[in-house]
C-alpha cells in the first residue's frame, strides 16, 4: 500500500490560511485608518514641515495646501489617500521632495536583504543549535547553549551591533564599519555584489543573533516537549537509532512552533532593522523611518507604516502556507474521494 499522499489542502492549517486571506482586507483597512488618524493628530501638517525645511511664502503655502489637498476635510483627504493608494500614489515626501513610493522603493531592497539574511541566519543557527541542545536536555551542551541563548535574548541589538563593530571592524579590521558599499570604488557586477554582501555581514549578524537565541530556545522547548510524547516513546520502543529518533521524530515536531514564530517575528524584525540600520548607517527602510521621524515627514512615515504592514501580512501568509505544507497532522475528515 502506498503511503497517503499529503496535499496541503487537507491539513487543518489550510483552513487558517483561507481565514487569514478573508480577514486581510479588513485588517489592512484598520491599519490605514489607524495610521492616518494617528498622524493626523500630529501638530502641523506636511506643508508646515515642507516650508520649514525648504522655505516658501504665504502664497506658496496656500498653493501647496491646495495641490496636496490639505485644505479639504480629514475624511475627504482619507478617501483621496485611498484613491491614490489604489494607483500606487503614496503622497509626496516632504524631506526628500520626491514621491513617497519612489523613496520607499529605493530603500526597501536593502531592508529586505538585511531582514531576509538575518532570518535565514537566525533560523539556521537557532534550529541547528536548538537540535543540539534538545537532543539531550539538561546535558552539559544544553546547559551552555541555553544559558547563552538566555543572555543573548536579553541583549539590546543596537548595543550588540556596536560591540561587534568595535571588534570586527575597528580592532580586527575584517569588515567595513558602516554603509552599504565602498564609496567611490566604482565596483560593478559580481565584485559590487560581494562588496554589498561584505557590508551587510555585521548588520545581518547583529539583527540575526537575537532571533537565533529565540529560535534556539523555542526549538529546545519543543524538543523537550516531544521527548515526553507517546509517539516518541513508541518510536523508541521500535528501537530506531537515536540519531534518527532525534532528527526525524523529535526535532521535526519541534519545528512547527519555530515556523509559526518566524511569521510572528516578521513585524519585530522590521522594527529591529530601524536601530540596526541606524547603527551601521545602512540606507534601508528602517533608517528611513528614523529619518522621517526626525524630519517630521509624516507623509513618508505613513507610507512606511503601510508598506511595512503589507509586508508583514504577506510574510505571515507565506509562513501559514509553509506551515500548512509541513504540518504532519492530516485532516482525514476533509479527504474527498
Amino acid at each position: 500500500m502506498s503511503p497517503p499522499e499529503r496535499s496541503f489542502v487537507r491539513g487543518p492549517a489550510w483552513l487558517l490560511v483561507r481565514r487569514r486571506l478573508a480577514q486581510a482586507p479588513l485588517v489592512l483597512l484598520f491599519v490605514l485608518v489607524g495610521a492616518f488618524l494617528l498622524l493626523e493628530a500630529a501638530p502641523g501638517d506636511a506643508v508646515d514641515a515642507y516650508v520649514a525645511s525648504l522655505g516658501g511664502d504665504a502664497g506658496f503655502v496656500r498653493e501647496l495646501r491646495e495641490r496636496w489637498g490639505l485644505d479639504r476635510s480629514a475624511p475627504t483627504r482619507f478617501l483621496l489617500y485611498l484613491a491614490g493608494l489604489a494607483t500606487g500614489d503614496l503622497g509626496w515626501s516632504v524631506a526628500f521632495d520626491r514621491p513617497v513610493l519612489a523613496v520607499i522603493a529605493e530603500r526597501l531592497p536593502v531592508t529586505l536583504a538585511l531582514a531576509g539574511g538575518a532570518t535565514l541566519f537566525a533560523f539556521a543557527l537557532g534550529t541547528g543549535l536548538g537540535i543540539l541542545a534538545g537532543a539531550r536536555p539538561q546535558g552539559p551542551l544544553d546547559r551552555i547553549l541555553s544559558a547563552a541563548a538566555l543572555v543573548l535574548n536579553a541583549t539590546p541589538s543596537f548595543w550588540l551591533g556596536l560591540l561587534l563593530a568595535l571588534l570586527f571592524a575597528v580592532r580586527l579590521r575584517w569588515l567595513p564599519l558602516a554603509g552599504i558599499e565602498t564609496i567611490g570604488a566604482g565596483y560593478s557586477g559580481l565584485v559590487r555584489l560581494l562588496d554589498l554582501a561584505r557590508h551587510l555581514v555585521l548588520p545581518v549578524l547583529t539583527l540575526g543573533l537575537v532571533y537565533a537565541a529565540l529560535y534556539l530556545r523555542l526549538m529546545r522547548a519543543g524538543m523537550v516537549e516531544a521527548w515526553r510524547s507517546d509517539f516518541v516513546r513508541a518510536a523508541r520502543a521500535k528501537g530506531i537509532s537515536r540519531r534518527r529518533l532525534v532528527l526525524r521524530h523529535v526535532a521535526r515536531n519541534a519545528l512547527l512552533p519555530v515556523v509559526t514564530m518566524l511569521g510572528l517575528q516578521s513585524a519585530t524584525l522590521v522594527g529591529g532593522s530601524v536601530v540596526v540600520e541606524s547603527v551601521f548607517a545602512v540606507p534601508g527602510l528602517g533608517r528611513l523611518a528614523a529619518e522621517a521621524v526626525t524630519q517630521r515627514d509624516f507623509p513618508l512615515l505613513l507610507g512606511i507604516l503601510i508598506v511595512s504592514a503589507l509586508l508583514v501580512l504577506l510574510v505571515n501568509l507565506l509562513v501559514d502556507l509553509l506551515y500548512a505544507r509541513i504540518d504532519p497532522r492530516v485532516e482525514l475528515g476533509a479527504r474527498t474521494p
Partner: protein
C-alpha cells in the same frame, strides 16, 4: 497565592532574578540617597576611566558627568517607563480581551481584527510614530510602547474567557443570577489573569528594550539620563573609551535578563502540572 510563591521560590534562578529586579528598583528609587551626585551636573574632569577616582567610581562621560549617577537615574527612567507601559498594556489589553470574549459575535470579530491591525504594524515603527506625534516626554514613550504591547494580553484574556465560559463555577454564577458585569469582573477576570500576569513580565522586558532603542535614536527626552542615550553618547568615543557605551548596555542586559527570568519563573509556577524536564 502562597502556593504560587512557594513554587516560584523553589526555582533558584527565578528567585535570584526577582532579587535583582527588586534591588534595581530600590536602587533606582533611592538614587539620590544612594549616590547623591547630580546626573546632569558637570562634576569632574571629562572621560575619567572607571575605578580610578573614588569620587567617580564608574568614571565620567565626555562632559565630565558622573557615570554612576547617570546609570542610577537611567535605571529610574527605564524601570518607570517599562512598568508603566506594561501596566497600561495589561489593563487595556485585558479590557479589550474581556469585552471580545464576553460579547462574542460581531463585536468579538471587530475587536480581534483591530488587534490584528495593531500586530501587523511593526511595534517599534508604531512607537516611533507615536513619539513623533506626541513629543519626546516619558509619558508619550509609555503610551508609544503600550500602543503595541496591549495586543498580547488582549489575545490571552480572550482565549482564557473562551476556555472558562463553560466551566461549572461560571455556570453556577449565572444560575445564581449574578449581574453580567459582576460575572465578568469578579468571576471570569480573576481566573483569566494568571497567564496575563506572567506575560506582563515579557512586556516589561521588551518595554525596557524599546525605551532604550528610542532614546538611543535620540527620540526620547534629551534632558533626562537614560541608558539608550548614554550608549549613543558613548558612540562618539567608542574606540578610545568603550566603557561609556559598554556599562549602560550591561545594565540593560542585566535588567532585561532578570525580568525575563522572573517571567519564566512565574509561568512555571502558574503551570505546575507541566513538570520541568
Amino acid at each position: 497565592m502562597t502556593d504560587l510563591l512557594v513554587r516560584f521560590a523553589r526555582d533558584r534562578a527565578a528567585l535570584l532574578a526577582a532579587c535583582v529586579v527588586a534591588g534595581l528598583t530600590l536602587a533606582a528609587a533611592s538614587a539620590q540617597l544612594l549616590w547623591p551626585l547630580d546626573p546632569e551636573a558637570v562634576g569632574g574632569p571629562p572621560l575619567l576611566r572607571p575605578l580610578v577616582d573614588p569620587a567617580h567610581p564608574l568614571g565620567t562621560d565626555r562632559l565630565g558627568r558622573d557615570v554612576l549617577a547617570r546609570l542610577l537615574h537611567g535605571a529610574r527612567l527605564s524601570l518607570t517607563v517599562a512598568f508603566a507601559a506594561a501596566g497600561a498594556a495589561t489593563v487595556l489589553g485585558s479590557a479589550v480581551g474581556l469585552a471580545a470574549g464576553l460579547a462574542g459575535g460581531r463585536i468579538d470579530e471587530l475587536l480581534m481584527r483591530i488587534t490584528d491591525a495593531f500586530q501587523t504594524v511593526p511595534g517599534f515603527l508604531l512607537a516611533l510614530a507615536f513619539v513623533s506625534v506626541l513629543g519626546p516626554e516619558a509619558r508619550s514613550v509609555v503610551l508609544a510602547i503600550a500602543a503595541s504591547a496591549w495586543t498580547g494580553p488582549a489575545r490571552l484574556v480572550r482565549a482564557e474567557i473562551a476556555s472558562l465560559a463553560g466551566r461549572d463555577f461560571v455556570l453556577a454564577a449565572v444560575v445564581a443570577g449574578l449581574p453580567r458585569l459582576d460575572i465578568a469582573l469578579r468571576v471570569l477576570l480573576p481566573n483569566a489573569l494568571p497567564p496575563v500576569v506572567a506575560f506582563a513580565a515579557t512586556n516589561v522586558a521588551s518595554a525596557v528594550l524599546i525605551e532604550a532603542a528610542l532614546s538611543f535614536l535620540g527620540l526620547a527626552d534629551p534632558n533626562r539620563a537614560s541608558w539608550g542615550a548614554m550608549i549613543a553618547e558613548g558612540r562618539a568615543v567608542l574606540v578610545s573609551e568603550p566603557w561609556l557605551s559598554i556599562l549602560p548596555g550591561l545594565a540593560l542586559l542585566l535588567t532585561v535578563l532578570a525580568v525575563n527570568l522572573v517571567g519564566e519563573g512565574l509561568n512555571e509556577a502558574l503551570a505546575p502540572r507541566r513538570a520541568r524536564p
